[in-house]
């Protein structure tokens, strides 16, 4: 396999993660079970005329993609590969409500045009006038990882290319709240920083966009290497343990070589046992980190774990707000990421310092 380096990465989340020269120094706390992303100044990246018609997902996606390109010092990517669990759900919801409440009358095309899952990828291509490969993955919690796997294939097929990979999901007024009704999101108000002391089912929901530019050239500007990524649709806790062991062995490592594991604990009493089992067994002596109490759960939330990994390499420091246990590594070279959503769509990834 060709090498796969992160050359630039940017993340818009419910925390002020786009503020430069900071690594989670300032934390915003939330009291609700659904909360929105903390907006950067979109005007710096998008012309006002274009912005008027853009939904949040498009604004976040276009902005994060520009930030990542800038960091990578790349003007034109050789492919644009996005992942999104729900796509442009705000415009989809508005269009659907007009159909249902106005009896299929007085509809305009704009909302429909912007409702498709690949709107963000299409808009980025339009903005960059980029005619290259362009695909959108919509596989729940592995949407972003599916995009990385495609990019890895492409780096093998076309060496020396720079590929934009992104994950975007937005909250919509009504359809996001449906997940309170079906129990996916907690009914009660909850303080996000105390997420893991919750004993109820469901999680907290939010939105965000994480984009990175990856390539296989070995340059001094590379931030991290994505050594390997694997997705698995369904697995028991025991199967996941076995998969992770195989994954680590396949990459010629032992558990002791993992300097930190970034886990996707989301406070859902029914499903966090996947993470807890790993915390208590395979990785009991490993530094354990989590992040969904800060940025909420959404289908592409796991993309933020990649951002965290790159920041740890860059700052040589782990903010305490991320810690799940009191183990601390002196140095960080190999960071393992594991995530799933409601027991399905598992992903395992290994990041390595460049």
């Amino acid at each position: 396999m060709s090498k796969c380096y992160i050359k630039g990465i940017a993340s818009i989340t419910a925390q002020p993660t786009t503020v430069e020269d900071q690594f989670l120094e300032e934390i915003i706390s939330y009291q609700e079970s659904i909360f929105r992303a903390s907006d950067p100044n979109y005007k710096e990246f998008i012309k006002p005329a274009a912005m008027r018609r853009m939904s949040k997902a498009v604004k976040m996606g276009v902005t994060a993609s520009q930030m990542a390109l800038k960091q990578a010092n790349i003007e034109q990517p050789d492919a644009i590969i996005t992942g999104t669990g729900m796509g442009c759900r705000q415009d989809s919801e508005k269009f659907l409500e007009k159909i249902l409440y106005d009896d299929e009358q007085y509809l305009t095309p704009t909302l429909f045009i912007q409702s498709t899952h690949n709107t963000v990828g299409g808009q980025i291509a339009l903005g960059l006038k980029c005619k290259a490969y362009n695909v959108t993955y919509v596989q729940s919690a592995v949407s972003f990882e599916s995009a990385i796997i495609d990019a890895q294939l492409m780096l093998d097929e076309q060496p020396n290319s720079n590929i934009m990979v992104g994950g975007i999901d937005e909250i919509a007024k009504t359809s996001s709240r449906f997940h309170i009704l079906n129990g996916d999101v907690k009914k009660e108000e909850i303080h996000n920083l105390e997420l893991l002391s919750s004993t109820t089912t469901g999680t907290i929901a939010s939105e965000g966009a994480t984009f990175m530019v990856i390539g296989n050239e070995d340059t001094t500007n590379n931030i991290a290497e994505i050594v390997d990524v694997e997705i698995k649709y369904s697995a028991s806790v025991e199967e996941i343990k076995k998969d992770i062991l195989e994954f680590i062995a396949r990459n010629d490592l032992e558990i002791t070589a993992i300097d930190a594991i970034v886990l996707g604990n989301n406070g859902d009493h029914s499903f966090d046992h996947y993470y807890q089992e790993l915390q208590q067994t395979l990785f009991k002596d490993t530094e354990q980190l989590y992040y969904k109490h800060l940025i909420g759960e959404y289908h592409t939330a796991s993309a933020f774990a990649y951002w965290i990994g790159t920041k740890i390499f860059e700052y040589k420091n782990v903010p305490d707000v991320l810690r799940l246990n009191d183990k601390k590594s002196q140095e960080h070279k190999n960071i393992l990421i594991y995530n799933h959503y409601r027991g399905e769509n598992h992903s395992i990834a290994l990041l390595r310092k460049c």
């Binding site: 409500e97 159909i99 305009t108 045009i113 498709t116 690949n118 006038k129 362009n134 599916s146 698995k232």
Partner: protein
């Protein structure tokens, strides 16, 4: 010529048949599946013609053998039926015997259930089981669970080119040695959402669609699911599998012109066809037949035709036809429906007709094949384009 990736199974359900055999018999008989809409209530019923599968959800549930309390969308059920047929044809009895993946394209996913129950969720707990079908990946999960595929499972949603990109990704995964076997294709059930969406774009015809005709009035929406099984050479050899054909070329390019419209010069389509020919290691003259995207919208056919003139040259346009007048435009499933049709064309040495055509588009002067044509076919090129500027081309070759 590149040998490509072996195809060992195919399955389909569309408005012209519930199985591959039924689809073939409708194609040979030039018998379209375009009618008025019967299964969805909409005020547009008398203003559009559609390619609707005349089986109610209850009938589909019975056919599959689902429990009463299931929460499957129509998109999932159609997908299960088609994928199951593909697996049976590929003689797969132990899904775990090799590293097996599943890649599905869909545009609406479970929208049919969302639009049916959206206004009831607040009051009626009994329908809340459908909330989980809001995200498109749920559809793929339903089908994967039914097939027992638990490893690499993903969904592509690039509007009307979704299944082409799913087939392309599957071929690349096998080529790279990341999977031994993968079921690829797409599924989309009919929904009020898409009917109204395409309605606002004013591209739905009130008559049977007429691809590549000067007086074309727009497309007929359809619903379908189709999947093919791709297997590594190693499995084909070891198990002495019958190969139906090969996917030997693929490409995806972006028109980067407009969110929904195609550029006048067909730039994205041109780039996709050109690169697919390069991957297949062939020149344009090797193409025996083109199964065009041919939606019958003024914009698509003009843009695609222009791109074909650029690729092949006016004097050397291969035999071509759009099969959308049979099935309607089945959106995310279209490319896999047309992959199955292309494999049938290779198998039967027959070009299926472009129905309802009368007058060539003046600016193009291109005439599609309008009757069933018996002809030795070795290499077929198939186009699929979608919103977001997504243009994809696949090339299928004879086994």
């Amino acid at each position: 010529m590149s040998k490509g990736i072996a195809i060992t199974g195919m399955g389909i359900i569309s408005s012209i048949g519930n199985t591959v055999a039924e689809n073939l018999s409708s194609l040979r008989a030039a018998k379209p599946g375009i009618t008025r809409l019967d299964l969805i209530e909409t005020r547009h019923r008398d203003a559009i013609m559609v390619g609707e599968i005349k089986k109610s959800n209850a009938e589909l549930e019975t056919q599959i053998g689902l429990a009463k309390d299931n929460n499957l969308s129509r998109t999932s059920m159609l997908g299960i039926i088609a994928a199951r047929e593909a697996i049976v044809q590929a003689s797969i009895d132990d899904i775990d015997a090799y590293r097996t993946g599943f890649i599905s394209g869909t545009s609406v996913g479970g929208m049919d259930m969302t639009e049916r129950y959206y206004t009831t969720y607040q009051e009626s707990p009994e329908f809340r089981k459908y909330i989980a079908t809001q995200h498109a990946g749920a559809t793929t999960g339903d089908i994967a669970r039914h097939l027992g595929i638990r490893g690499y499972v993903t969904t592509i949603s690039t509007a009307c080119s979704s299944a082409a990109n799913a087939i392309m990704l599957g071929a690349r995964m096998i080529k790279a040695g990341k999977l031994d076997r993968v079921i690829v294709g797409g599924t989309d059930g009919m929904s009020k959402f898409t009917i109204n969406g395409f309605g606002t774009l004013m591209i739905l015809s009130d008559e049977a669609c007429t691809p590549f005709d000067e007086n074309r009035k727009g497309l007929n929406l359809g619903e379908a699911a189709a999947y093919i099984v791709l297997e590594s050479d190693k499995i084909v050899k070891k198990e002495n599998k019958k190969v139906l054909g090969y996917v030997s070329g693929w490409a995806n390019a972006n028109d980067a012109f407009h969110q929904t419209a195609s550029s006048a010069e067909g730039e994205g389509a041109y780039l996709a066809m050109k690169e697919a020919l390069d991957i297949a290691e062939i020149t344009p003259d090797a193409i025996d037949y083109v199964n065009v995207h041919g939606t019958a919208t003024p914009n698509n056919d003009m843009s695609e035709g222009t791109a074909m003139l650029r690729i092949f040259g006016k004097e050397n346009i291969p035999v071509f036809s759009s099969t959308k007048a049979f099935t309607g435009h089945t959106l995310a499933a279209a490319a896999s429906v047309e992959a199955v049709f292309s494999l049938l064309s290779l198998q039967e040495n027959m070009v299926f007709p472009n129905l309802n055509f009368k007058t060539p588009i003046e600016a193009l002067d291109m005439t599609p094949q309008t009757t069933c044509l018996e002809k030795e076919l070795n290499v077929i090129l198939s186009n699929s384009f979608g919103f977001g500027g997504n243009c994809s081309t696949l090339i299928f070759t004879k086994a």
